[in-house]
Symmetry: C2
Subunit: 93 residues, 2 copies
DNA sequence: TAGATATTTAGCTATTTAGCTAAATATATA
DNA sequence: TATATATTTAGCTAAATAGCTAAATATCTA
């Protein structure tokens, strides 16, 4: 179940901040790491979790790997949240 | 930051299933526990985490404690998700 | 008040997670 | 090819999390 990965990925504040950064512009792994008081390997692992959840994409350009948002998963997330606004119904019909 | 509690609470499949159940109707702690292959104390802890995140309310009626959805937090969650649909902007303006 | 039912709290253990350092991999360039 | 830069992978440790059982708390009713 892919929504499980989505929520797991979103449960960490560092990872949500990474998404906030990528909302503005695509960034390399190094540029992302600069925004945090944390080692690059730690950020790399967070990026990997976000990638597994398909919340972000990666693309290598020479020495650099650029990360960007994947907005489609947010649409699925939106559908999930909407179920709880419209009372009644299973959300699966 | 309350959104942090929200996402932590939503990161567990059991807790999301509890929300699905409460979407249909208010239920007692015992009724909720019946839907899971898990002890009542374990369910009780999950309910407590959902309550801390203000995703649900509880109300005692005699021997029973009824749980119900609090839809207002889902609205905040919705705002958060929407930021990532409309590219550009910080979402804080 | 005593006993039954509903639920939570306390305390324990196994698993998962997030951080670190050191080493490995990939690319660019002299 | 050798060296430098960018990033990830591997392996470790401390802290957090989810499950359990046993005990405590709250309410109802005989």
């Amino acid at each position: 179940m892919t929504l499980n990965y989505t929520f797991k990925a979103l449960s960490d504040p560092t990872r949500r901040k990474i998404l906030d950064l990528l909302k503005e512009e695509d960034l390399t792994a190094g540029e992302i790491a600069e925004h945090f008081n944390m080692t690059k390997p730690s950020i790399s692992r967070h990026l990997n979790l976000l990638k597994q959840a398909e919340l972000i994409w990666d693309e290598r350009k020479g020495q650099f790997i650029y990360y960007s948002l994947n907005t489609t998963v947010f649409q699925d997330l939106m559908k999930w949240v909407l179920q709880f606004q419209n009372q009644g119904g299973t959300g699966n019909e």
